[in-house]
């Protein structure tokens, strides 16, 4: 029979059997799901640049710090204000005199929550001279002058105003109208979003309704340009998975980590299993002294405790993701060797190998064309099973702070969580999801690997 046909038939049979194993199918579905998440990563996150600017603090500065995910509102008694981005603000322009003109915009913000947002941030780009005044009109009719400030710049620049920070004094004097003795630390956002009764500080009641933010921009020269303005309500809950203590969106980081986890896992297992399979076959095929030497080398490698070596190597050489994959492959290839060797010893005795030899086929041809294809199903099983450990090792090395700083991996998120006191402070949304993600990818490949294993060892199914 033709060799390629034989392999194709073998794979087809294999697939037919694979379809029978339920958790194998579950593994394939999960894998497809992960691939979809990788492909549509930039559409699924509010921060499309999360992957490249993970360590850039300016990219995350508008988010609240260490707040839980939005869906805790479904379970908690009090409603927390979610983070909101109000963009494309519309302004009415009015000329005052000569070069001076006033831009005015009123933003209506519906506040139906119990726990106020952490901050209100107004920001944009500008060039030239302008002064800014923002007044907040509350549902109860009170008006608070939040901020008055002027800006000037010759080149285009960003401006960013944290209304909570800037309005401290004004809000304090507003509160003093209702409460005689202010406590030493006044929670500005609580005052802004609570009813003005005697319990403003001891037990504030939220003031729900429509808040109007009246923004006035006075352009002082004709050349002044103000663009791209937006208001960010920095909530007390944020994103699908909350934020970490550097204001980063955990969900975006988690999403960005999928491709690296898959890449690290698949790359390492593909390289190492290929090496291992070839090594095993060569060792079995040549036999004799070659086999003995190769098996001794294998024995040396199997006796090296991998994780400590990886830790020490990474600590000393501070590797990139590529060299880490290479280092892992250097130690992972030992896995399939013994099984492959014993299988190859049997294949070696098959008649068609004998025939090929008799016909004068080269050693290389026999090994690569006749022996290795037979081992392909086994190779896939062992690749699938070594993916989780590769991901696990990368995560572990990253946990110690030895990861590649140019990318985001789940291990690095957990390292930050560990250092940021997430465990002691109970910031579960920062600790639990990355671990579950690692476990899920591990489970996906374990499903695939165990399913293939079940087919390859029919003994194990039932008795």
């Amino acid at each position: 029979m033709n060799k390629t046909n034989l392999v194709a038939k073998q794979l087809k049979d294999f697939w037919n059997e694979f379809k029978q194993v339920k958790f194998g199918i579950a593994g394939i579905i999960l894998l497809i799901l992960f691939i979809i998440l990788v492909i549509f990563e930039s559409f699924l996150t509010p921060f499309p640049e999360a992957s490249t600017r993970w360590r850039d603090i300016t990219y995350w500065e508008d988010n609240p710090r260490s707040v839980p995910p939005v869906w805790i509102n479904w379970f908690s008694q009090k409603d927390y204000t979610p983070t909101e981005y109000i963009e494309d603000l519309e302004y009415t322009e009015q000329n005052i005199s000569g070069p001076i003109s006033i831009l005015n915009s009123v933003i209506e913000y519906q506040y139906d929550y119990d726990v106020p947002p952490v901050d209100l941030i107004y920001r944009g780009n500008f060039k030239g001279n302008f002064s800014l005044n923002i007044v907040l009109e509350r549902p109860d009719g009170n008006k608070i002058n939040l901020v008055t400030k002027s800006f000037s710049a010759n080149t285009e620049k960003d401006f960013r105003i944290s209304l909570i920070n800037e309005s401290g004094n004004n809000v304090r004097s507003f509160a003093r109208r209702y409460v005689q003795n202010l406590p030493p630390r006044v929670n500005i956002n609580t005052v802004l979003f609570s009813q003005t009764d005697g319990e403003l500080f001891s037990n504030p009641t939220p003031l729900n309704g429509t808040y109007k933010l009246n923004i006035n921009l006075m352009k002082l020269t004709e050349e002044t340009v103000i663009e791209d303005t937006r208001l960010v309500v920095s909530g007390s809950v944020s994103g699908w998975l909350g934020t970490d203590n550097s204001k980063r969106d955990v969900w975006s980081g988690l999403l960005a980590g999928i491709k690296w986890a898959l890449f690290i896992g698949l790359m390492t297992s593909a390289i190492s299993v290929s090496i291992g399979v070839i090594y095993g076959v060569v060792s079995a095929y040549y036999g004799g002294i070659v086999d003995s030497i190769m098996q001794r080398i294998w024995e040396v490698f199997i006796n090296i405790p991998l994780l400590p070596v990886l830790i020490v190597l990474s600590a000393i050489f501070s590797p990139s993701i590529w060299s880490l994959i290479l280092m892992m492959s250097l130690f992972f290839w030992v896995g399939p060797v013994k099984t492959v060797r014993s299988m190859a010893l049997q294949i070696k005795e098959e008649t068609y190998v004998e025939a090929a030899k008799a016909l004068g086929a080269s050693h290389r041809r026999i090994i690569f064309r006749h022996m290795i294809p037979i081992l392909i199903p086994y190779s896939f099983a062992s690749m699938a099973l070594s993916v989780p450990s590769a991901i696990l090792y990368e995560a572990t090395v990253s946990l110690l702070g030895l990861g590649d700083a140019t990318i985001v991996t789940w291990g690095q998120i957990l390292h930050d969580a560990m250092n940021g006191g997430a465990v002691t402070n109970g910031l579960w949304w920062w600790v639990v999801p990355p671990g579950i993600a690692i476990a899920l990818v591990g489970m996906t490949f374990a499903f695939l690997g165990f399913a293939m294993d079940t087919i390859l060892n029919p003994k194990l199914r039932t008795r």
């Binding site: 450990s389 696990l392 995560a395 572990t396 465990v423 476990a439």
Partner: protein
């Protein structure tokens, strides 16, 4: 015949250890040279400081400094060709001559790397062996149950949990457990080996250590026993299909004694050694785990040494870890050889 196998196996282990140390020595050659160099300069400067206080002639000091640095470089073979440096470093490592730490100190304030590592070993072994024993007991018991009812609901659900746990980082599970049982519901201490201050009586101290061991061990065992059970199930199931089981069943021997008497007896050696081997593999995983629970063992030492960038401690710790690891494998092989008559009679080592 067994002793001949044993001797061969032990010699093989020693040989492999020597080879690995040579590999390490080659890998980390330049880094260690740098560390040694700066250590020598520091040491000589210290000596000169002392001499200048006595009032020695400055010219002599300069000469002394050069001569002393030369001597020390000679002592550590720093001026030799690279191959000879690798050789001498390996010899030093093999004789437990790891040198001095750059930053870290032992609990008693010593700077010898060997002392820093040695005081950690008992703690690691204590935590790890306790976890191993509990792990194997639960794993084998569950595996037998699974094999007995292969294909039934219990077997299937536990198999799925096994796959779920397969890629789970044990240290992450440790973090979650600490969050749950040390902070949210504070029933266990969050880490360390003893309370601060430690109890004064010996008995109180032992109890206190056990209390601190509880959470890490629960975590390790919970992560570990699923795989053990799966392995046991497969081995026992494989044996249940052998002819002698069929004949035992045909003779009307009760299923229970077929399982425990016949199947388990033949499965015991591979179960034991494979469990121990895979646990040995999890040894290195448990090392990272120690950092999470601030358990003062060898793993925690890696963690601290990485943070302080103390290369001699890292390498010394690595050499000892490797030694323990290889010794573990050799001991397991010896047990296996003892249990397996084919090896005992004189098969291939």
């Amino acid at each position: 015949m067994y002793w001949r196998y044993a001797v061969r196996r032990i010699l093989m282990g020693v040989f492999i250890y020597v080879v690995i140390i040579f590999i390490y020595s080659a890998l980390f050659n330049t880094v260690m040279d740098q560390t040694l160099n700066s250590q020598i300069v520091e040491q000589v400067n210290g000596e000169i400081m002392k001499m200048s206080q006595v009032g020695t002639d400055p010219e002599y000091l300069v000469e002394y400094r050069l001569r002393r640095i030369g001597e020390l470089r000679d002592l550590y073979h720093l001026d030799d060709p690279i191959l000879s440096r690798i050789f001498w470093r390996a010899i030093d490592t093999l004789t437990f001559n790891y040198g001095k730490s750059t930053v870290m100190r032992s609990f008693e304030g010593e700077t010898d790397v060997i002392k820093i590592v040695l005081e950690r070993i008992p703690n690691t072994l204590m935590l790890f062996t306790t976890a191993i024993i509990i792990d194997i007991l639960i794993g084998v018991w569950l595996g037998l149950k699974k094999a007995q009812k292969a294909g039934k609901t219990m077997d299937k659900t536990t198999s799925i949990i096994t796959m779920g746990v397969y890629g789970l980082p044990s240290w992450w599970f440790g973090m979650v457990m600490i969050m749950l049982f040390a902070f949210a519901i504070p029933i266990f201490p969050s880490g360390g080996m003893n309370s601060v201050p430690p109890p004064t009586t010996f008995f109180g101290r032992v109890l206190d250590t056990l209390y601190h061991m509880a959470l890490p061990i629960i975590t390790l065992v919970f992560i570990g026993f699923w795989g053990r059970a799966y392995l046991t199930r497969n081995i026992v199931l494989g044996n249940l299909q052998e002819d002698f089981i069929m004949s035992a069943r045909a003779r009307g021997i009760p299923e229970r004694s077929v399982l425990y008497g016949h199947a388990l007896r033949t499965s015991a050696p591979p179960i034991l050694t494979m469990s121990l081997l895979s646990l040995l593999a999890s040894f290195s995983g448990a090392l990272v785990f120690e950092g999470i629970f601030s358990w003062p063992g060898m793993g925690n030492l890696y963690w601290a040494a990485v943070q302080m960038n103390d290369i001699p401690v890292l390498l010394g710790n690595l050499s000892i870890t490797t030694l323990i690891y290889i010794s573990g494998i050799v001991v397991l092989d010896l047990i296996y050889g003892f249990l397996d008559p084919r090896i005992k009679v004189g098969g291939k080592a």
